[in-house]
């Protein structure tokens, strides 16, 4: 079991790209992309989506907890809103990182791949060095 990650970005491309990049070094980690906004059909708009973040957390919740990474402030607010709607037992295993999105996601994914605890994965995200 490992910690899962949710990548929340205003851009669907960014979220999907971060997932493909981090997956290279963390093939066994669940990486959920929650990027952009929109209603099923048509291309995503730039924005964040309550439902996509909620679905991402669900997707990533099968393991030892979930770390959420965000890009801009409105993504943080959307994520915090979603957290308030989670069942307490799910909520207690979810952390919101204050990390550089791309760099933090790669660092966190590598820790998760190595079986690190939820708090260690969070620390790796928050402490990620920019452009190692």
């Amino acid at each position: 079991m490992t910690v899962g990650l949710v990548i929340v970005s205003h851009s669907q491309k960014i979220a999907e790209g971060v997932v493909e990049l981090a997956a290279q070094m963390a093939p066994d980690v669940v990486l959920a992309a929650a990027g952009g906004a929109g209603d099923g059909d048509g291309p995503s708009r730039i924005g964040t989506s309550f439902e996509r973040v909620q679905a991402g957390i669900e997707q990533a919740s099968g393991g030892d907890g979930v770390v959420i990474l965000t890009d801009l402030g409105s993504a943080v607010m959307t994520a915090e809103m979603v957290l308030e709607f989670l069942e307490p037992e799910v909520r207690s295993a979810v952390r919101l990182a204050e990390a550089a999105l791309v760099e933090g996601a790669v660092a966190a994914a590598v820790q998760a791949q190595g079986g690190a605890t939820l708090d260690d994965v969070l620390r790796a995200a928050d402490g990620a060095v920019v452009s190692i």
């Binding site: 906004a37 730039i46 964040t48 309550f50 607010m77 809103m81």
Partner: protein, 216 residues
């Protein structure tokens, strides 16, 4: 109860908000273009259009709180920008403050506005003067409470709130943004009104107008 606001008022408030937001879509977009990403009008129009569609299609909500809760959930999932979680939280907290009461008296109206305002502050952590919608909601709350304490009717409480919100929105113009996207602009954000403060004034104005109409 004389001049008390009921579920029908809440529904009318939301339909009128949708109308006003649609009417001012381009204005809100243009405000957001200068100090943001040019989508605030689009975001809110999408959100309140969805609210009206929900009201048209679902069974009539039974309490004012049920209306506001429907609005909160709809905005949250359709707006897409910062205004989504902010107004979502505002309407959710407003709904909670009303409980299952069938009618909203002047004190409850003022309490509802305060709850909305406090929800926005809890969600966005902005302070007064940060050039956000908080700069419209805060004077609106204070004016509503003052009016209620002075014995105003519920429509009068909402009118006081709306007027204060308009003044608050206008007063964001010289400020330097310290929260939200506009804060990226630093000093360049001065000289323009905050889009969210302006949309707040429209929403509260719709509340006041529909309340006055109901008792005209």
């Amino acid at each position: 109860m004389a001049d008390a606001l009921d579920t029908e008022w809440a529904v009318r408030w939301m339909r009128e908000t949708a109308r006003v937001v649609a009417e001012n879509r381009v204005l809100l977009i243009n405000l957001d273009r200068v100090i943001g990403d040019a989508d605030h009008g689009e975001n809110l129009d999408r959100g309140f259009t969805a609210v009206v569609a929900k009201l048209d299609s679902s069974e009539a909500p039974e309490t004012p709180a049920a209306v506001l809760k429907l609005v909160a959930m709809t905005l949250m999932s359709t707006v897409g920008g910062a205004a989504g979680p902010l107004y979502g939280t505002a309407f959710l907290r407003a709904a909670t403050s009303l409980g299952d009461a069938a009618e909203i008296d002047p004190n409850a109206a003022a309490a509802m506005i305060r709850a909305a305002r406090d929800g926005i502050v809890a969600r966005g952590k902005a302070e007064i003067g940060d050039k956000t919608m908080v700069d419209a909601w805060t004077p609106a709350t204070e004016s509503a409470e003052t009016a209620a304490q002075a014995g105003a009717t519920a429509p009068e409480v909402l009118t006081a709130a709306a007027n204060a919100a308009h003044a608050g929105a206008g007063a964001t113009e010289p400020l330097i943004a310290r929260k939200g996207r506009a804060s990226y602009l630093g000093e360049r954000s001065a000289g323009h009104q905050d889009p969210g403060a302006v949309s707040t004034a429209f929403i509260l104005q719709a509340a006041a107008e529909t309340a006055r109409e109901l008792f005209a």
